[in-house]
Symmetry: C2
Subunit: 240 residues, 2 copies
């Protein structure tokens, strides 16, 4: 990995790369959907909720609305999806929505994540470089045992990936030049944005993030510095 | 600890409470002082450098200057102390000053810190709630093995303790109300400010932070929620 010899910090995408959001959100949604007589498959519900993620962040990226943290967007998106299914909001308490929204803070790591992150942490500083907010990333780490050294990303930067400022302000926060940081992600778009401003790149294939019928990010679309099938392989490749 | 039953997050002062800045700064300064023929005891030099810490932050707190991170203040203060000793700046490289300034990122934890923090981390979320900057706190954690879940404090808040916003914005970042957070510090002034806005308080006596002749913070000056002589005792008192 000679082209990574300057790297001392690994910044991780989290949703999809380190944790399995789809199963976890479906698990949390299932009893809620049943309780309120909503006839939708929990995995489909998770996909639909997640489907509003990028458009809602885009309104922040474009400047159409000021930065708000991801829990705020997720809550709005939850209500949108429920409305689409003609949910009876009169029968749903705010406490239930708050709790369901916290599904995003109670997601299982992929089976390789914790052990591999622990190995990587021995050689590098490691941090979440996610669009999640600090509290969500903290709670997710406590839930799943993710051993972050630091939590960076959207809330530190005041904007969302793939805006360059998200990577640049995260780099500045840890006192490093972009070339001293590798972005680790299962999404080619994330790596493309990071690479464009000088970060190194580690692509981790997560072909079931979106379920068995996934069509996106099934392979590396550019010549990333490291291309692997798990964080375990990333740790191997990075000499940990 | 019935009055702490709501607490789920412990925010730690770091310099003096968790790490021994005086010995570490003196250790780094000694060869520099000798190399440049500066006839000052390294421990005195550390004290003098640290002596400019509060006044330099005060200029930020008062609004006299915009927020800058602590490494910037420490560097300015280093040059001030060197000037006081008639250092020949023509013979000192910038790289030497950069390196010496990083002494604040290479400080030994007090002997009890790492084990006790690890115990506390099993029951609570734990984070640096320091006037240090994120990179400095990260590097200090890697140097000494401090197992933070998250790094909060001055850079998150854009101001310095004991300004209320430092605690309040740190609390907001972890999604908690002030009463759900306990401030852990060896400094009565830090706890007084935290307590005034509703945080719980843990006083840890560190009677040699300033060396054998220390005159400040030798005892709890108010009825803090927990008053102990080490972080080990704090872990005991908090049922960890």
């Amino acid at each position: 990995m000679t082209n990574l010899h300057e790297v001392s910090f690994l910044g991780f995408d989290v949703f999809g790369t380190v944790v399995d959001w789809r199963s976890g959100v479906a698990r949390a949604a299932a009893p809620f959907l049943q309780r309120h007589g909503l006839n939708v498959d929990p995995l489909d519900f998770a996909d639909q909720w997640r489907g509003l993620y990028q458009p809602s962040m885009q309104r922040v990226r474009s400047g159409e609305r000021p930065f708000v943290t991801l829990d705020v967007l997720n809550r709005e998106n939850l209500e949108s999806v429920l409305a689409r299914h003609d949910a009876d909001f009169g029968g749903i308490t705010n406490a239930e929505l708050v709790d369901l929204n916290k599904a995003w803070e109670r997601l299982d790591p992929w089976p390789d994540s914790v052990t591999a992150l622990t190995r990587l942490k021995g050689k590098f500083s490691i941090g979440a470089l996610s669009n999640g907010h600090i509290a969500g990333m903290l709670n997710l780490a406590k839930f799943g045992g993710l051993p972050w050294d630091v939590i960076l990303g959207a809330e530190i930067a005041g904007t969302y990936k793939p805006q360059p400022q998200t990577y640049l302000k995260s780099a500045k926060a840890v006192g490093l030049a972009p070339a001293q940081i590798a972005m680790v992600a299962a999404h080619n778009s994330d790596l493309a944005a990071a690479s464009a401003i000088g970060l190194k790149t580690v692509f981790v294939r997560r072909p079931t993030e979106h379920g068995p019928g996934q069509t996106s990010d099934l392979k590396a679309e550019q010549d990333w510095d490291v291309i692997v099938d798990s964080l375990t392989e990333a740790a191997d490749a990075l000499g940990c």
